[in-house]
């Protein structure tokens, strides 16, 4: 094990996969000479050259579509979007092409590509640069969506995404890039579609993904310290497919649950988890399941306003107590 940042772990995953498979290449805005808007592709241009680390014009539609076209012909593109907010410009390509091509052509062709992009707020980047839209992609059959929180998960899941034969959306998070964690030195695998119990507990399950897992873990510590409550934190890690077995088993054990997501909860990930629990473990529940999400406003600039808009440890703690009441 070696301590690495989330950014370094992603960078390693890219480097190792590019060494392993000559068909893997990176395309995106400023991924080469600039070394990535958030430095995830640092050093890769000098190591692999401009053919495999391709700087692209500000043309999200063409970048995404070119990735899909190259994948159809057998390459393994990793398409970087500077932030998830810019994927909206390429939505037609992602939803109408990447997700549909295999199906509507009767399985004659696959689209083995990765979309990497950070979401999340907290950097005073305001309304157009702070969104959490990963569930939009998780809504669409034909796509897979993963959202790692730890450096080890980030590396493992990105590598598996690159090797997957279908389009995989890898959600990163701006506020996670500098966070550190232990990363195995040897090769390891994290199957797509596997949740991870990040903290074991017996009284309540908190479901979260991406950065909100860390918020949930801090809330769980406070619940333990101040209230003697044993909260389990399940990191969904994959939004499509969902690891229903891990999710349901946790609630069968704790009998109480809540969800936390950084984005707006309305029509969101939490609602999906709640519906899953209603379908399968309704009789195991001792209390109504509650959701925590970002406040339903465009992200404001002012620091106090922004802080108020994003789910906090205090908020998760308060709602947990309601579920436990």
């Amino acid at each position: 094990m070696t301590t690495k940042t989330y950014r370094e772990a992603l960078n390693e995953a890219l480097r190792e996969e590019m060494h392993r498979d000559q068909d893997v290449f990176i395309i995106g805005q400023d991924v080469g000479k600039f070394e990535g808007a958030y430095r995830v592709t640092q050093g890769l241009l000098s190591e692999f050259g401009p053919k495999r680390v391709k700087d692209a014009p500000i043309s999200e539609t063409a970048i995404m579509g070119a990735g899909i076209g190259a994948a159809m012909v057998g390459l393994r593109p990793v398409v970087e979007f500077m932030t998830i907010n810019f994927t909206l410009v390429a939505m037609d390509q992602i939803v109408n092409n990447a997700a549909k091509i295999r199906y509507m052509f009767g399985g004659q062709v696959s689209v083995p590509l990765v979309i990497r992009t950070p979401g999340g707020g907290g950097q005073q980047l305001t309304a157009q640069h702070s969104q959490n839209l990963e569930h939009w992609f998780a809504h669409v059959p034909g796509l897979k969506v993963v959202a790692p929180v730890s450096p080890a998960d980030a590396k493992g899941l990105l590598k598996m995404a690159i090797r997957d034969p279908d389009p995989v959306f890898v959600l990163e998070n701006l506020a996670l890039y500098n966070t550190k964690g232990e990363v195995p030195d040897d090769e390891y695998e994290i199957p797509l579609g596997s949740a991870d119990v990040k903290r074991e507990g017996t009284d309540l399950t908190i479901f979260a993904h991406s950065r909100m897992v860390n918020v949930a873990l801090r809330a769980a510590e406070r619940l333990e310290d101040e209230d003697g409550v044993s909260a389990e934190v399940v990191d969904l890690r994959s939004l499509r497919p969902l690891d229903t077995e891990t999710i349901l088993n946790s609630v069968r054990k704790t009998n109480r649950a809540m969800t936390v997501e950084e984005g707006w909860a309305t029509y969101g990930v939490g609602g999906e988890i709640v519906a899953l629990l209603m379908d399968h473990v309704f009789d195991d529940l001792d209390a109504p399941v509650k959701r925590v999400g970002g406040e339903e406003v465009p992200m404001p600039y002012s620091k106090p306003l922004e802080r108020a808009a994003i789910p906090s440890v205090d908020r998760v703690y308060d709602v947990a107590l309601q579920v436990l009441a």
């Binding site: 539609t61 063409a62 990735g67 076209g69 012909v73 109408n96 091509i101 295999r102 897979k144």
Partner: protein, 326 residues
């Protein structure tokens, strides 16, 4: 005269294919009105010279991406008419296994990499396939076919720019049938001639008579030679006309019957047939024989389509994800 330099068999093949497409589309229209074909159904009738002229020039290592008016494109590339008709009828024997229908034909063997239903949305895919050709240092080129209406969407401009910036072997082939549903270029395009848009991307471009298969073939071969040699993109605009509506559901209120009749005087199959007769390559008897053989082939294709089974509903989830199909 082009006929003197062209191979006689090639010309007869082209003629036969144009007749096949015409009769196939007429049969498809019938099957649509009989409710054997559902959804949208866009016909190539009137555009046969453009379709056959362009697609008969490709090599096995090339790729074709096209829009939703794609029946003729599949046929011209060599797809089995039975499999195409079966797809239109939603059968499991269809070229896309009954999952795509009229708009989404795909034939890997004949390098048809899809018909796509979002106007202009397939242009970036063609750029990506060309990027893969360049990446692997292969010899092929990509032909990307789209209508003139597609030149007004952002994906067109992004794709043209990217193809040029990356020096990719793409032939952008604009089939200008003069109507984007009911809108003419004069209504919706800042420049009425599409080839002019290529100038903004420093791309060689040419406008050709899309009703004349000689003109289309000759210009496309020249353009493809140039793309193969220079490994740079190029743009062709074939000026053509669709004799039928945008789709089967089109009352045609946006244009006069006189206008349609005027264009039908330049019916590409009649023009080509007369020319071949003048050059002694074809006679009335041969034309009748070709029509008869084509009709028999289409009847076989139709019978195959109608007699084929639908996909099993148990297989509804097949082809969503690769792993699950293994």
């Amino acid at each position: 005269m082009a006929t003197k330099t062209e191979n006689r068999e090639q010309l007869l093949d082209n003629y036969r294919m144009m007749v096949l497409i015409r009769h196939f589309e007429e049969r498809a229209a019938q099957l649509y009105t009989q409710a054997h074909i559902g959804g949208y159904c866009h016909l190539n009738i009137g555009e046969e010279a453009t379709v056959v002229g362009a697609l008969s020039t490709l090599r096995p290592e090339d790729y074709v991406f096209t829009a939703y008016r794609d029946h003729g494109h599949a046929l011209a590339l060599g797809s089995d008419p039975g499999a195409v008709m079966a797809e239109l009828c939603g059968k499991v024997t269809g070229i896309s296994k009954g999952r795509g229908g009229s708009m989404h034909l795909f034939d890997r063997e004949h390098r048809l990499f899809g018909g796509y239903g979002i106007v202009g949305g397939h242009l970036p895919l063609a750029v990506g396939a060309a990027l893969a050709i360049q990446y692997r240092e292969e010899d092929g080129v990509v032909m990307c076919i789209f209508g003139e209406g597609a030149t007004n969407i952002g994906a067109f401009h992004e794709s043209m720019n990217m193809a040029k910036v990356y020096h990719l072997p793409v032939l952008f082939f604009c089939s200008n049938n003069q109507y984007a549903m009911g809108s003419m270029p004069e209504d919706d395009s800042a420049v009425p001639e599409m080839w002019m848009k290529a100038c903004a991307y420093d791309m060689a471009a040419e406008r050709i008579d899309g009703m004349d298969v000689f003109s289309v073939r000759e210009a496309t071969m020249r353009a493809l030679d140039r793309v193969r040699e220079t490994r740079e993109p190029m743009f062709l605009e074939a000026f053509t006309y669709r004799f039928r509506g945008h789709s089967m559901a089109d009352a045609g209120r946006y244009r006069s019957q006189d206008e349609v009749r005027e264009w039908q005087r330049r019916d590409p199959i009649q023009l080509f047939g007369r020319r071949l007769q003048e050059d002694g390559i074809l006679d009335t008897r041969m034309r009748e024989d070709i029509e008869k053989a084509v009709d028999e082939e289409i009847e076989r294709a139709t019978r195959f389509a109608l007699e084929s089974p639908s996909p099993e509903t148990d297989d509804l989830y097949q082809y969503v994800y690769t792993e699950e199909d293994r």
